[in-house]
Structures are given as C-alpha cells and as structure tokens.
C-alpha cells in the first residue's frame, strides 16, 4: 500500500481521470441527453490525436494549428456519424459506430507509411531519426512551470503542470456543457430519445440537432485525444481499442448518465480503480502478481458495469426515472 502514498501516483490517477472526464463528457452529451449509443467514441479521440501528430511531424504544421486540425478531423468524424444517425437508430447505430471505430484502428495499423503502423507515432516518416511531436508542448509546460515558480516559489514538474492544464480545460468544458444541457436545444434532444415524431410535429429540426450533438461529442473526444497524445508522448493504434470506449461508458453509467456532474465523479473512481489495482496489496489483490493484476482491473471494470446496470441504472448521481420510464 505504500505506493499509494506517493504523490506521483495520485497525479497519475488524476491526469488519467481528467483525460477520461473530457472523453466521457462527450459520451454523456450523446447518450445522457440525446440517447445515442456511440460505441465508437474512441475513434474520434484517435482521429484527432493522429491528425494532430501527423500534421505536426509529416507536414511541419505549427503545433497549435496541428491541434486545431486534430479537432477538425474529429468534428468531421462526428458529421459522418451524424449521417449514419439519420438512417439508423438504437442498436443499429451502435453497431455502425463500433465498425467505424475498428475501421479507424485497422487503417492506423496498416497504413504504415502514413501512420507508422503498429509502431505508432515513433515510426511516422520524418526528417529526424525518431519522430516526436511533444517538443513545443514541453516548452510550453516548462515556461508555465517557470512562471509559477517565479510567482509562488513552488517548483512544479511536468506532470503537475499537465494535471493543472487538463483539469482547467476539463472544468471549463464541464461548466459549458452543463449549461448547454439546460437549454431548450438539449430538451429537444431529450425528447428525441423517444422518437422523432413529437419534436418534429412541434417544428424542431431533430436530424440537424442530432448531427450537432454528435459533432460536439466528437470534438470533446478530440480534445481528450490531443491531451492523451501529449501526456504519453507517443501514440499507437492499440491505444484506441474499443475497450477505451467502454471505460468511458463505465464512467458515465457509474456517475449517472443523465447528469454532467456524474462524469468527473465516475472518472475519478475509474481512474483510481484503473491505476490503483496494481498497488493494492491486500486480499484478494495480494493473491495475484502484478502482471495478473493488470487483467484483474478489467474484470473489476466489467463487474462494476454489470452491477450498475442491474441494481442502479441511474448511476451514483443520475435521475432514476429518466433512465427507466416507458
């Protein structure tokens, strides 16, 4: 348990939780408000991360512009999902989103000349020996760190600055999305969970709104993708397995899919379980060695998902009736 007392561990947990908060927030908007079952959300994260990295390394685009291009790519992915959603509902839409996500990953694995293939961003063709995209970000972080030091006297390492950056963005986004979810626009989308006829008969352009919510959710996924790429300094196709999407699903179901506040709550619990299990040294965790514990956490995540769906469909903070009324 001693490892749990090291600040570095908690910083790692919080950074992960922050990235997942932003990612899952996009899903909360899509599912919790609009009822869209997007099981391919991770593809938008990947699309944005890869676009940012490739445009920086291969096309020598300015770093900030590269980030912007990443978000645009995610938005376009959202438009594509929007087109799918015009034709498909519920389960059928869900299946297409998984296919979309896996198609993205397979392209990333196999278009090696472009994406670096299975070796990830390190193998992206570049002028230098190993491709890297984090230099401008590290410079930025260093300058922030120096400023904080001159202001307060505290020296912050890279991870601490990262933590502050990610959570500042996350909190701003949480506030903006929470407000957005109070607008009549969101209300129309809530109504559309039960079919298009009613909102349409009241003059609401539901098809357009559904595309808008998918684009917004995708851009949130895209922001998370860029932070992910910056935090881990390296991306590879398998970072964007469907498993990551299901982590985000666990987060929103655990926190309560109908409420924005549920997202950070779920993400913090998830972050702790995900990073913490390997440090737990009490039974039953002590029965396993550390390699097995990595798999153990997947079992825990799965068990939690089943338990929520069975006994508390509204999650920790959600509104039960909004989940179960017919």
């Amino acid at each position: 348990m001693a490892d749990l007392l090291v600040p570095g561990f908690w910083i790692f947990v919080l950074i992960n939780a922050g990235i997942y908060t932003i990612f899952a927030l996009g899903l909360q908007l899509q599912y919790g408000v609009a009822g869209l079952m997007n099981f391919g959300a991770v593809a938008l994260m990947g699309l944005s991360a890869y676009t940012m990295v490739i445009s920086f390394i291969t096309w020598n685009v300015n770093f900030l512009v590269a980030c912007l291009l990443g978000l645009i790519a995610a938005a376009l992915g959202g438009v594509f999902l929007g087109l799918m959603a015009r034709r498909l509902r519920g389960d059928y839409f869900a299946i297409v989103t998984i296919a979309f996500s896996e198609t993205f990953r397979y392209v990333a694995r196999n278009a090696s000349n472009f994406t670096g293939g299975d070796q990830g961003s390190l193998a992206i063709p570049s002028d230098s020996v190993t491709a890297s995209y984090v230099a401008p970000w590290n410079d930025f972080v260093a300058s922030i760190s120096t400023q904080i030091e001159s202001l307060t006297g505290f020296t912050l390492d890279r991870d601490s600055v990262m933590l502050i950056a990610i959570w500042s963005v996350a909190i701003i986004l949480l506030i903006v999305i929470a407000r957005l979810e109070k607008t009549p626009w969101a209300q129309v989308l809530r109504a559309s969970r039960e079919g298009d006829l009613v909102p349409q008969s009241l003059g609401k352009n539901v098809g357009l709104m559904r595309t808008q919510v998918l684009v917004l959710g995708s851009v949130l996924g895209g922001i998370a993708g860029i932070f992910f790429a910056l935090q881990f300094s390296f991306i590879q196709p398998n970072n964007f397995e469907p498993l990551a999407t299901f982590f985000a699903w666990m987060i929103i179901l655990l926190g309560g899919a109908t409420r924005v506040v549920g997202v950070p709550v779920g993400a913090l619990i998830f972050g702790f379980i995900f990073a913490g299990t390997r440090f737990f040294d009490f039974p039953p965790f002590s029965w396993f060695d550390s390699a097995d514990k990595a798999y153990l956490r997947l079992i825990i995540v799965g068990a939690i998902l089943i338990a929520i769906v069975l006994w508390r469909p509204q999650g920790i903070l959600g509104r039960r009736k909004e989940m179960i009324l017919e």
Binding site: W185, Q187, R190, A191, L197, V198, S201, L202, L325
Partner: protein, 254 residues
Amino acid sequence: MQAVDISKSFGGVQAVSGASIDVIPGRITALIGPNGAGKTTLFNILTGMVIPEVGQVLVEGEQLQGKSPHVIARAGVGRTFQGAHVVTRLSVWDNVMLGAIENPGDKLRGFFQPRARKHFDARSKGRALELLDEVGLTKLKDEYAGNLSGGQRKLLDFARAMMAKPRILLLDEPFAGVNPTLRLGLTRLIEKLQSQQAVTFLLVEHDLPAVMKMSHHVYVMAEGSVIYSGSPDGVLRDQHVVDAYLGPRSGDNR
C-alpha cells in the same frame, strides 16, 4: 388547408386513393370513417410524416407535400397523436414547454444569446401555465409524463400542440380514452379556441355524437376515398356512409 387528390399505398395496400379534403379556415372539420379507412395516413401526409405518391398538400396556397415535418409544423400546422405521444421521461411542464415554437434556444447558436432565450422563456411560461390550467394538469406539472394515465396523456398532447400556436390543429382521436367529464372540458376548449382565437381544427374521431355536435363540416372516408362531404346533419342520412359502416344491405346491388 387543402389536400388535393392524395394517393398512397403501403406495399400492396392502397391506404389512400384520390382523396381530397378542404379544411375551412377558422372552423372545426371532422374526418370520420371506419377503421382502416386511411384517416391517420391522410393525417400523416398532411403533416409531412408520410410522403404521398400522388397529390398536393396546400396551406394558404403554398405547396407543402414532400416538405419535412418540422417545416410543415413551422408553417402553422400542428397535430396530436392517436396514441398520445407524450415524452415519458420529461416532466409534464417540460413536455408543454417543448411545444414553444421558434424558440431561439432550440438552435445551438441560441446558447450564445442568453438574453433572447430568457425573454422568450418568460413569454412562453405564461402561455404554458394557461394551457396546463385549461386542460387541468397544473397540479401534475412536475410529474414525469410517463406516470400519467392515458386520458391525461391525451390532454397533455393537446396542450403541447397548442403551445406551438398552430393556425391549423390536426387532432387524431382526441376523445379516445378520455373520461366524460374531461371530454366535455376538452370539447369546450376546442370550441373556445375556434371561436375566440380562430384556430382551424381538423379532427379524426370515432365518437359520432361528439363530432356531430361540435363540427361544422364532416368528411367521411372509407377504403381510402372520401365518400361524403357535407354538414354533420346529413351524415347519418347518407346511404354511402351507412353502407361503409354497416356493410351494404343484403339484396342491395349498389
């Protein structure tokens, strides 16, 4: 509002064939007919939810057939549903407020116009309260609509449709499953809205006595065609109508 020579078939079934109706502005028009006569299909065509193979839908001379349902709704054509489609997972209040049409907050860019939204909200709230009061659902305003009874859902559906300030309101079986007291209240409300606010009504209804009493003009449909158009008094004397409901008399070769 006019429907001219509308035809629509589903697979091999001719749901509506060459039906034309003319809804007189500011009046209550009824559309009756046996089950399967094509009334609801015609309703769905008038509101853009089903696209006809042949025919035109005109509102004040403007062609609306083939337009999206939300475009037709914005042109002033409202409707209720046979099954009273309330949004079960929203409160009664939220259901009614959903009806507010041309709400700046419906648009994503409305997010950046908090003032316009507030202003609109303030105006809509008064109207929503009034309508809830008219249909007697004020006490249930914070209840989830999914907890309402069938009759209450009908009333909510009606109030919500009225919230959009339609010039023409299409009511699909407004009295079905509504108890006699509420039914009387609803009849009065429809008559009041017609006489005081000049709302045009077109209603599909099986309750003939109610239809006879309140409507100014009656259309009867059978097997996809309009077989009667005229005053309520003449309906029961019309041989075609009697045949359509009861079947041709035995020995009658017409």
